[in-house]
Symmetry: C2
Subunit: 135 residues, 2 copies
């Protein structure tokens, strides 16, 4: 499948598409959202994935590794100046009775072809096991 050509007009649009591509394990969408050079991605606990190819490979590996957890996210802070934007995001991933809260710093840049993601830095903030009731 061909990588779609997108023109996204705000960091929020890129962010929504980014998390949607994660939820859908859509590697072609993911490919379209990253700038094509000098990008970095730090998955929770990982070293730096540096450069477009390494970043896309890491996502392909994640998407091929298994079932996606239940997921939602909340943007906690937006800072923007001209063609650069930084978002602080709380991601919540649920799988079985385990809930993992991940904090992500997402950095977006505006190019001629629209806004794209240039950095995703994620780290685990907490891991919780949901309580079971006997009702």
């Amino acid at each position: 499948m061909k990588t779609p050509t997108l023109y996204l007009s705000s960091p929020d649009e890129v962010e929504a598409a980014y998390y949607e591509s994660f939820l859908q394990s859509d590697i072609n969408m993911m490919k379209a959202l990253w700038a094509t050079d000098d990008v970095v991605c730090i998955h929770p606990g990982s070293e730096i994935m540096s450069g477009y190819d390494a970043v896309i490979r890491s996502w392909a590996y994640i998407f091929e590794s298994g079932t996606m957890p239940e997921f939602n996210y909340q943007v906690l802070k937006r800072t923007q100046s001209n063609n650069l934007a930084v978002h602080l995001v709380a991601e919540s991933l649920s799988s079985g009775d385990q809930v993992v809260v991940v904090i992500a710093t997402n950095v977006y840049q505006q190019f001629e072809k629209g806004w794209q993601i240039i950095e995703h830095h994620a780290s685990v903030a907490q891991t919780q096991h949901e309580g079971h009731t006997l009702q």
Copy 2:
């Protein structure tokens, strides 16, 4: 001791002072480097410290907790637009035979009073034990 008043004219100047204050456990210098509201700090493995007071308290706690490790850092990437800058930094902390590599995303903003730090997001990339030789 009074918090010093600083005017720092670039993100690099703030970054150098920031790591110097860390190395020197200098809480007054640290106080002067952060913007005074709406700041966030994520230490490795921690939740979000949100707001100036919480961020400064977290640094005071770290500085009071013990001996500083040997430390050096390398800026891997700088992105700047107008009055916002994002730096990707590799921090190396050595204590005994253990070396911890931390990746930090540092975000700087320019105000009337100069550049200040508004976000520090750090996560552990790797922990190594240095090999011993028997020579």
